[in-house]
């Protein structure tokens, strides 16, 4: 893995999210707890809703357009909806957020 610094933890409000532009498309970084972040595709497979604008609860995100709910651990849609978003390795180093550059870069090169 090649970890890339994408910003400070405090740039994302608690239970909020921010978007990162990557070669594989827009990736949303979710801050689910004081020191817990997840990264997943910003695009809802249903109608392309911007997931970084949704409501973060537990380790889940609700799409702002039609309330699809995804588990951020697996990327699986929950409840009656069927769908999947890509998830990406992300970690916290002190006060910084790092994402796996290979995971968000390689795919576009292919």
């Amino acid at each position: 893995m090649s970890w890339i610094d994408i910003g400070a933890l405090e740039d994302i409000p608690l239970r909020g999210a921010r978007m990162v532009k990557t070669p594989v498309g827009c990736v949303a970084i979710f801050r689910t707890d004081e020191a817990e972040v997840f990264a997943a595709s910003n695009t809802c497979p249903h109608k392309n809703g911007p997931l970084a604008e949704g409501i973060v609860h537990g380790q889940k995100i609700t799409c702002p357009l039609h309330n699809w709910v995804f588990d951020l651990n697996t990327g699986q849609a929950l409840g009656a909806d069927e769908g999947q978003i890509d998830t990406f390795p992300v970690r916290i180093d002190g006060v910084r957020i790092l994402i796996d550059g290979n995971a968000v870069g390689k795919r576009s090169a292919a």
Binding site: I4, G7, K21, T22, G54, G58, P64
Partner: protein, 817 residues
């Protein structure tokens, strides 16, 4: 025996408590004309559900909600009510009673249901002002009136004492409980469960002293000042509540020469030593026992009614179970749980969850159960105690409850379906499954009608979910789920419950709501979070800080998201009035940010559609410079006030409708509401501003302003209803603001005003806003306090922080390098 043909007999009842009330219901049901009833009650009111006084005290219910028989009921059944009157004397030889005022009434049958008196420990100072018991509505009101920041001491850590303490604590009173025994509720709980209960109460801020002896009540100027314990500790207080037990009220019976012991002696038919006098309720002694819980009282009532009608019935004492009515303290106890040589215990503990369960077995039968923290299986265990079920086969998994018997977990519906017909569902009222199913098949298709036909779940309400499951099983798909739905999967509480508890328990943060109201998820979900966020900011505008992360995107971004992920921008145009300068700024912004669509909205505003998210702070800053502010076209808040030109230009105009519209918009803008709020002001009844389909509409007439509310022109179409006629413009503004504030304080999140008005009734709204001038003023003042925080332009704030609208990082640039 001689029957007087064609004439009903005279029945006099002393005491209108729950037992006699229930006896009357049975009597009228079986033979409505058999007796001419006169009902005396020392309390100045009829029958109410006394066991629900604690939820009234804590603010979870109102007194009106616990009234079981109202004036109309007594009238319909021809009961002569003598409320607030005591009976002074019974003359058994003459078969008369003498009222306090000297009236003499003859009876054919007399029922004594004089209840019990709270026991007051004769400590020095027990007669001081401010020393009360916890028995009736007056006591409850005394405690409710104490007010935040005052101090109270409760002597007695039993059921009633703890409910009193928790109720007052929920109202902000500083409460200390003094209990003489080593652990709380020792008659219902063992030591371990008592400890968990104490821990819970202490964590809520209630001071709990066990193994403590009261010595003296200290007073000042005839008023209670403190309680002194025998170890010298002094507990200052403004109110002292004694809840140490009850004594059957036998005075009248004793004077009349009836046989009494601890209570009035009755036989299995509820007849006293005089064949024409019956007694029931807390005043009686049957086979050596006296009664304080409601279930046996209701059994007695049934028997007494049968006896009055000459039919055969027998009162049999049964085991009873107990639940504490304190929200958040889940405990259950039933049967006998004292330790003994021939008894065995099965114990389960989960300290992290605060769960404790203990079953007591004797001869392979369950004889007692104590549960704390998780009481879901309580009724199942209670059923086995009552039935004397042999549990040797399931002993290994018994404590895990019915779900673990017979392998796979059973879903609740099939479990209910499998219950035998004679299973008791409602312990308070002794209603079994077959009665409920019969009622449902007879047309009782919702909880309310099952309650009114069978009484099931109509007392303490703990069996409500079982009754609902029976409805579901019996009616199948045709069962319409009750209107009172929980907010979401995170909680079992309804929106109404949550709003009430936020106010009564003074919950001022989301974390407090999740914790205190037992949320089942760590931090809510997309359904409850926006609702809770609104309730908190509406109820505690100064204390609570709005949480953008709990808002739908439109409100967080202060713009409407469109289906392609771009946004629309709508500047406010006060009352629909604009000018060349503003129009020029809008035109410039539209060009500068490549806005693809410019449209005039239905609310008399200009909408710039298709703005990119990251451009938002910049277009706002540009519009701000021209004096334009956010139009809140995205918010559950004040949207627009639409106007016509009124007297300024129109030859029909009767008042300055544009001016009033602008004033209203300037007063209301920025306020958050349960759903969007749209207003309009028309200058004459021709109503060009279409005011009569708005949330609030004002139609100007020669004599003033017609203010009407609750209109709709969306999914539903509905004309407004007249709230009031205002003579002056100021009055029209006041009425509007007070109405909006009432809506903010009471409505369910996402209920438009018309839905809310339909629920609470326009009459109630009028009482609050129109008739009660003091209340109208108070509503306006609370609205102003809230507006001191929220009447501001979000665009200006957000334009200063453009970084939040940009991507956190752009890795495409690095990749291109």
């Amino acid at each position: 025996m001689v029957e007087i043909l064609g004439m009903s007999q005279k029945l006099v009842i002393i005491g209108a408590g729950m037992a006699s009330g229930r006896a009357l219901e049975h009597l009228f049901e079986m033979a409505p004309d058999a007796y001419e009833v006169t009902l005396f009650n020392a309390e100045p009111r009829g029958c109410y559900n006394r066991i629900m006084l604690s939820p009234v005290l804590s603010g979870e219910k109102t007194y009106q909600e616990i009234v079981t028989h109202d004036q109309a009921w007594y009238e319909a059944n021809g009961v002569t009510c003598r409320f607030g009157e005591k009976v002074a004397k019974i003359d058994r030889a003459a078969k008369t009673v003498t009222a306090e005022n000297g009236d003499v009434l003859s009876y054919d049958k007399l029922i004594i249901a004089s209840g019990s008196n709270p026991f007051i420990i004769p400590l020095p100072g027990h007669d001081l002002e401010g020393v009360i018991a916890y028995r009736d509505l007056e006591d409850t009101e005394r405690m409710m009136g104490l007010g935040e920041g005052h101090r109270a001491v409760v002597i007695g850590g039993g059921l009633l004492g703890l409910e009193a303490a928790a109720g007052m604590q929920a109202r902000g009173v500083d409460v200390t409980v003094v209990h003489i025994m080593g652990h709380l509720m020792e008659r219902q709980l063992d030591e371990a469960a008592g400890y968990l209960l104490r821990k819970e109460l202490v964590s809520r801020g209630i001071n709990v002293l066990v193994a403590s002896n009261s010595k003296e009540i200290v007073g000042e100027n005839g008023k209670v000042k403190a309680l002194r314990l025998d170890n010298g500790t002094e507990l200052p207080c403004d109110l002292l509540v004694m809840a140490v037990g009850i004594r059957p009220n036998t005075a009248l019976a004793k004077e009349a020469g009836l046989a009494t012991g601890r209570g009035i002696h009755v036989d299995d038919q509820m007849i006293t030593s005089d064949e024409n006098i019956l007694a029931l309720g807390e005043c009686v002694e049957h086979d050596g026992a006296i009664f304080g819980l409601v279930a046996p009282l209701y059994d007695q009532a049934k028997v007494a009614a049968a006896t009055l009608l000459g039919s055969d019935a027998r009162f049999v004492q049964k085991d009873v179970s107990t639940k504490l009515k304190v929200t958040g303290c889940d405990l259950f106890s039933a049967g006998d749980f004292a330790e003994g040589e021939d008894r065995e215990d099965i114990v389960f503990r989960d300290p992290a969850r605060g769960v404790y369960k203990r079953l007591v077995l004797q001869d392979d039968k369950l004889i007692g159960a104590v549960m704390y923290g998780d009481t879901a299986d309580g009724n199942w265990f209670f059923g086995m105690i009552k039935d004397g079920t042999d549990v040797s086969e399931m002993r290994d998994t018994l404590i895990f409850g019915p779900a673990y018997q017979g392998g796979a977990a059973v879903d609740p519906l099939s479990a209910v379906a499998a219950l035998p017909d004679d299973t008791e569902i409602c312990g308070c009222n002794g209603v079994c499954k077959s009665q409920i199913v019969t009622a449902i098949n007879g047309g009782a298709e919702d909880l309310g009608s099952v309650r009114s036909t069978t009484k099931a779940s109509a007392s303490c309400g703990t069996c409500t979910s079982l009754v609902e499951q029976l409805l579901e099983v019996t009616l199948g798909d045709s069962y319409a789920a009750p209107a009172a739905q929980p907010v979401c999967g995170c909680t079992d509480l309804t929106h109404e419950d949550v709003r009430r508890l936020i106010k009564s328990q003074e919950l001022k943060s989301q974390a407090a709501v999740w914790q205190e109201l037992g949320w089942q998820t760590p931090n809510g979900c997309h359904v409850c979070r926006p609702a809770i966020n609104f309730y908190l900011l509406a109820d505690w505008p100064l204390e609570y800080q709005d949480d953008p992360q709990s808002r739908f995107i439109n409100e967080r971004k202060h713009a409407n998201i469109q289906k392609d992920g771009t946004f629309s921008v709508v500047p406010r145009m006060w009352g629909g009035i604009t000018n060349p300068n503003e129009l020029r700024a809008i035109a410039d912004a539209a060009e500068k940010y490549d806005v693809p669509t410019v449209k005039v909205t239905g609310g008399q505003r200009i909408d710039l559609l298709g703005v990119k998210g990251e451009d938002l702070p910049y277009i706002w800053a540009d519009l701000n410079r021209a004096g334009l502010v956010s139009g809140h076209a995205y918010s559950k808040g004040l949207r627009t006030v639409k106007t016509c030109v009124g007297t300024d230009h129109c030859r029909f105009g009767t008042q300055d409708s544009t001016g009033l519209g602008i004033k209203l918009e300037q007063a209301l803008w920025g306020s958050w509401t349960p759903h969007k709020v749209k207003l309009a002001v028309s200058g004459c009844p021709r109503n060009c501003a279409e005011a009569t389909c708005k949330d609030v509409g004002v139609v100007c007439v020669d004599s003033g302003y017609q203010v009407s509310v609750g209109g709709a022109a969306g999914m539903d179409l509905k004309e407004t209803e007249r709230l009031a006629e205002a003579e002056t413009e100021q009055e029209a503004i006041d009425l509007t603001i007070a109405f909006v504030q009432l809506y903010r304080e009471n409505a369910k999140y996402l209920d438009r005003a018309y839905k809310w008005v339909a629920k609470v009734g326009l009459d109630w709204v009028k009482e609050q806003v129109v008739d009660d001038l003091e209340n109208r003023q108070a509503l306006i003042e609370r609205f102003e306090i809230s507006q001191s925080i929220y009447r501001k332009d979000p665009w200006a704030e957000h334009a200063a922080e453009p970084r939040a609208y940009a991507p956190l990082a752009d890795l495409t640039l690095e990749a291109a390098e």
